[in-house]
């Protein structure tokens, strides 16, 4: 990790360099492939998507977990999405309005994130990393990192996981 949190740091991205701005909403179209597994026992993975910027607290954009489990029991395994839990998840409460949702099926999953809605902040120009982490019950865990520079008009990045994640890509425009 380029920077670390003690868990006591509560400053969030969007508070400092990422001031919400009044210009046309930035929109991120994100594509995350969840590989089809040929395993005896398959459970859809918990997935977290977050944004990092050096010197800023990471910002969670999306979390897919077992939201419907009785008594909020699905939150019990959120910490298995380990890097995200440490970077951002452990300071949040769940369900997180506009951020958390149900787990998703294998295949290519599309996600549109609009600045100012849910967890997506309006970005000021600079260097960022979009991080996607997946953790699967009785399965593995994988993190895919997509560093990018935001120049204020457009950015795109692509990466590929090896086990728990397939292709991950996004385009960011305003």
């Amino acid at each position: 990790m380029q920077f670390r949190l003690t868990g006591l740091t509560t400053a969030a991205l969007g508070a400092g360099a990422l001031l919400p701005n009044a210009a046309a909403a930035q929109t991120m179209d994100l594509s995350i492939e969840l590989p089809r597994m040929t395993v005896a026992e398959y459970h859809r993975p918990y997935v977290a998507v977050w944004l990092e910027k050096e010197g800023q607290a990471p910002r969670t954009l999306s979390v897919w977990y077992d939201v419907d489990k009785r008594g909020g029991e699905g939150t019990k395994w959120l910490h298995d999405v380990r890097q995200w839990w440490r970077a951002s998840g452990r300071t949040m409460s769940f369900p997180a309005d506009g951020i958390s949702g149900a787990t998703r099926a294998p295949g290519v999953q599309k996600l549109r994130l609009v600045a100012g809605k849910g967890g997506m902040p309006a970005l000021t120009p600079g260097q960022y990393t979009l991080v996607v982490e997946a953790a699967r019950e009785v399965g593995g865990r994988e993190v895919v990192r997509l560093p990018f520079a935001w120049n204020g008009s457009s950015a795109t990045a692509t990466a590929k996981g090896a086990a728990e994640l397939g292709g991950v890509s996004f385009t960011l425009k305003r």
């Binding site: 670390r4 006591l8 380990r82 890097q83 300071t91």
Partner: protein, 295 residues
């Protein structure tokens, strides 16, 4: 083995008085150290053994003291002492860091009254000392012990309330939070002796799972001038950390011989002296189990 019997007998006597001083390692092993959600249980194995973390010798049967994130006292539930290990559960209902501690604190020793040698009752505290030694006692020899063995479990984000020092014995002051450990990041801890940063303490770090390894994964360090030590984890896993003012004793030895310093480097403060199984001076130690996660 026949020839070891006398040694074992001495060790047993010492064990009654000062468990921290014997070679066997005391440990608390939690089922989880980092949990999410708002209502979780952790279960803890508590035992005394040589090999970490295998319960194959004696249980650590003391009822632990639980300190909750808000500072209030929690409860050890389902406490059970078996042949090789004790177990208990802790119900986590608050957000933050819990401390689960077995602190062995007390004064032991003896005195002579009317020509008869008497032992100070076990469980005597420092404050009670004056009241348990009768008037007219002579040859009073006492030794104080503070053996702190504690672990930490965090539900949600880590907090620091449980690290408020008591000022007694060796305590841990987190620089890196003990529930925020990742294999590829060195961790720094500060150790306090009676509330003040203590330099030159011996810090032994041993990775669990030794049964499946030819050579133990052990790191021996000493605290710096600020009482700090930085540990570089060789890999993810459960680590046993032991902190003592004097060099850790080789396995199988009885009471430490008189004035045995740190390999001659530094005499122990109030160092224990052999006196018929009742060492005088002061024995302090700190033990914890830390979980280091994979990045």
């Amino acid at each position: 083995m026949q020839f070891r019997k006398p040694l074992l007998a001495i060790a047993a006597v010492t064990a009654l008085a000062a468990p921290a001083a014997i070679a066997h390692r005391m440990w608390l092993l939690p089922s989880s150290t980092v949990v999410s959600g708002t209502d979780n249980w952790v279960t803890v194995d508590a035992a005394v053994s040589n090999d970490l973390f295998y319960f194959d010798h004696r249980p650590l049967g003391a009822v632990p003291v639980i300190t909750q994130p808000d500072g209030s006292e929690g409860k050890a539930e389902h406490h059970n002492v078996g042949q090789f290990r004790a177990t208990f559960d802790v119900h986590l209902t608050q957000q933050g860091t819990y401390r689960i501690a077995v602190v062995n604190q007390g004064v032991f020793g003896r005195y002579v009254l009317n020509g008869e040698t008497k032992m100070i009752p076990r469980g005597t505290t420092k404050a009670q000392l004056a009241s348990v030694i009768p008037a007219g006692a002579t040859d009073v020899q006492t030794s104080e012990m503070v053996a702190r063995n504690e672990i930490f479990v965090t539900q949600g984000a880590p907090t620091n309330t449980v690290f408020k020092p008591t000022g007694q014995g060796i305590e841990l002051a987190p620089v890196t939070h003990p529930n925020d450990l990742v294999a590829n990041e060195p961790a720094t801890f500060q150790f306090l002796l009676d509330g003040k940063p203590a330099s030159g303490l011996y810090v032994t770090t041993i990775l669990g799972g030794g049964r499946y390894r030819a050579a133990p994964k052990q790191i021996d360090q000493r605290t710096d001038a600020q009482g700090k030590v930085t540990i570089k984890w060789p890999e993810a896993g459960m680590y046993w950390i032991n902190v003592t003012p004097t060099a850790p004793q080789p396995e199988g030895e009885g009471p430490r011989p008189q004035a045995q310093g740190a390999g001659g480097a530094r005499p122990a403060p109030g160092g224990p002296q052999g006196m018929g199984g009742v060492p005088s001076g002061r024995r302090v130690s700190y033990t914890t189990t830390l979980e280091v996660l994979a990045p």
